[in-house]
């Protein structure tokens, strides 16, 4: 069975869906691997490293013509054209955004598997790319905040004056939020965090940070560990109660997301105005409209003296590790997709396992 991996189509994406390490494990299992030349370059994985573990370096066309095509993010229409019918295509499909790729694939008989549809069950944790990449985003965004912040994050008492610890507020305590808390605490920040799901309080404290508790009259716990959207009154109340906490903050990191819904507005312009000059807001929800209306997708802007960061692809900034984690996720997923046959691996019925069943896209609803 041939697996093809190509360079990412999305602009600025440095990750790659395969690392030499994983490639070695896959060839060991009997897969033959095709990699577009230079696909790993941006993540510091070089062609000769791949070649050394038995990967065939080919041009993009050839790689796309494999039985299983693996990418980090969605392909473009040209790519679809180069794939053959019956092929399996695995990537982070960004399904909620308006999409023409999926219909094109389905029309051609290509079977797309969406990494973001992997269910959040214990067994699937090792395939859960959403988690593995969120984790990286949570770490990396704090590094970014530290780089943009023109002061010390830790407390520092010196003979040339003292710096108070930066007050860091994390909004939304999912996987990324937790890792952001951990990283900000490591750097010595005075860290506060808030989430609408009440069970997060204990988690926040389990990292030594302080939980902000607001009484907004309803809980935000939804299904499968995700949050649900709040009522309009609750939203307003939340914004109002948060305002004072946020105005005192020097670094705010927002990660509040509700799947396939616009991100909730948590930081209003008023609050930004009240913040100290030089403060930093990192909006991890920028891709979904942002938790702060002032952030601009993909960009760093300064408004009212506050630096607003709207980057949308933090994992790509850590392309080496992010690729390694993603490739591991794919490897674990392949593990439940195939049986070991005599002439190498044989594909199973993807509807048999609840994980592949959930991730396989069959309709465009």
């Amino acid at each position: 069975m041939r697996i093809g991996v190509v360079k990412e189509s999305v602009a600025g994406e440095k990750r790659v869906a395969m690392t030499p390490e994983v490639a070695k494990k896959l060839t060991g299992k009997g897969f033959s691997l095709l990699l577009e030349q230079g696909a790993g370059e941006a993540a510091h994985y070089h062609d000769d490293q791949y070649r050394a573990v038995g990967v065939e370096l080919v041009d993009r066309k050839a790689a796309l013509d494999a039985d299983i095509v693996m990418m980090v993010r969605k392909a473009d229409l040209d790519d679809v054209a180069a794939m053959h019918a019956g092929a399996i295509y695995i990537a982070h499909l960004e399904l909620c955004e308006a999409e023409e790729i999926i219909p094109a694939m389905l029309a051609k008989g290509i079977r797309p598997i969406a990494m973001e549809k992997i269910p959040r069950i214990s067994r699937a944790q090792s395939m859960d790319a959403l988690s593995s990449q969120s984790n990286i985003a949570g770490y990396r965004c704090v590094i970014e905040a530290a780089a943009q912040y023109k002061r010390f994050i830790p407390m520092m008492m010196t003979s040339a004056g003292s710096s108070k610890p930066a007050r860091v507020v994390i909004l939304g305590v999912g996987v990324a939020g937790l890792q952001a808390i951990a990283t900000a605490r490591r750097l010595g920040g005075d860290v506060y965090a808030y989430d609408i799901r009440p069970e997060t309080k204990e988690q926040i404290e389990s990292l030594g940070a302080k939980a902000i508790e607001l009484d907004i009259g309803e809980s935000g716990s939804g299904e499968g560990g995700y949050a649900k959207e709040l009522s309009d009154e609750a939203k307003a109340l939340q914004q109002q109660l948060l305002a004072n906490e946020l105005a005192k903050a020097h670094i705010i990191i927002t990660t509040a997301l509700i799947p396939c819904r616009p991100a909730p507005v948590l930081i209003q312009e008023d609050v930004v105005k009240r913040m100290r000059e030089g403060s930093v807001i990192i909006d991890l929800a920028a891709a979904n409209g942002g938790n702060c209306p002032l952030t601009e997708k993909h960009k760093v802007v300064e408004k009212h003296g506050v630096i607003l960061i709207g980057y949308t692809n933090y994992p790509s900034m850590m392309a080496s590790d992010a690729s390694a984690f993603y490739a591991n996720n794919l490897f674990n997923l392949l593990g439940i997709m195939v049986d070991e046959g005599e002439q190498g691996p044989v594909l199973k019925d993807l509807d048999e396992d609840e994980i592949t069943k959930a991730a396989l896209i069959t309709t465009t609803d």
């Binding site: 593995s132 990292l207 030594g208």
Partner: protein, 466 residues
Amino acid sequence: MMEISANVQAIAYLVSAILFILALKGLTHPASARRGNYLAMAGMAIAIVATLMGSEVRSYGFILAGVVVGGVIGTVIAMRIQMTAMPQLVAALHSFVGMAAVLVAIGTFLNKQADGLLNGVLMGELSAGIIIGAITFSGSVIAFGKLQGIISGRPVQFKGQHLLNALLAIATIGFAVHFALTESTVSLAIMTLLAFILGFTLIIPIGGADMPVIVSMLNSYSGWAAAATGFTLQNNLLIIVGALVGFSGAILSLIMCRAMNRSIFNVVFGGFGTAAVEGDGVADAAQKGVKSAAIEDAIYWMEDANKVIIIPGYGMAVAQAQHSMKELMEQLEARGVEVKFAIHPVAGRMPGHMNVLLAEADIPYENVVEMDEINPEFATADVVLVVGANDVVNPAAKDDPTSPIYGMPVLDAGKAHHVFVIKRSMRPGYSGIENRLYYQDNTSLIFGDAKDVSEGMVNQLKGAAH
């Protein structure tokens, strides 16, 4: 047999008493425990020989018969009995001491009566010996029955139980007084009977979980019985040893109650709000048949271990026990124990949760090992200490296809010699399912907050160094 003078005998008795004291002291620490037992044996041998060589003992027939038969029976039982049946055996042996004390007192009564040497004080002392001995006997028989499973281990409580006991006690004492004043053998007999009944009614209400304390308490009673016998016989050795056993037994019961967080009062007078005092977890666990352990038990196995593997989980994070973990590691390493931290990839609530905390506590990276690397090592670990982890050590993931975590790789904690789990209750972890590891034979649960418990461990280890 060569006879020794009363003075020599007295000195021999003193030596014997000293040996017993040193023996008990020896038993307080593992290093000196075996020596302690030997000292006690020597003390007993000296006491018996000195008695036999004394001027009072003149006929040896029955004595020889008794010692030989008793010795053989005792030896055989002690050699044959299974380790797990030890508590029962000890209870049974107690009953013998109690009965022996009763018999000695009655024998003394008969002898003194024959010699016309009875007086009030003596008869009072005799009565004390008989009453305490009888209570010890029947109480121990009940304890034996409960431990052996002949009698139900459940606390048997009934209305008016305390009133009944009080009435019985008063009646017993009443007949004792009457006996002392009148020498009435009938009173003596009734008193003895009542005491036997009292022993029964005192112990029967007490639940099986409290039996260890009760056995220790009965031990104390048997000491008092011996001391009372000493008074009647004016034998100072019996007095010393009796008081020693009596008091130390009482203290040991107290210590055991404290360790179990029980009130000694409730245990001894069984059934005073039994359930109320117990911690949530302990009660729950006992009910479910899970073994619970004290900090000391874990320390006992850890401090001499070759390898200890610590498995931290979300509970360690909640308790913020990482700094104590570091200290625990240092203390154990100082004793030559190899300590490793086994990190499950999904331990905690975020990727790398444990790594963050262990790094904060400055635990060297070399001691932190991934699941795949450590799993083969569990079989060679003397102790696994699970600190607030649950799902990540749940064997159901491997062998129970119906479990929601089936298929997730887990840490093979259960393969170690001893597994100690620190958690606060029997509540499940994130995935909400029961953990069969807790019911394994080699697993004990230490209930409590992870930080408190691990600090307790560090304390114990530091204390032990003195």
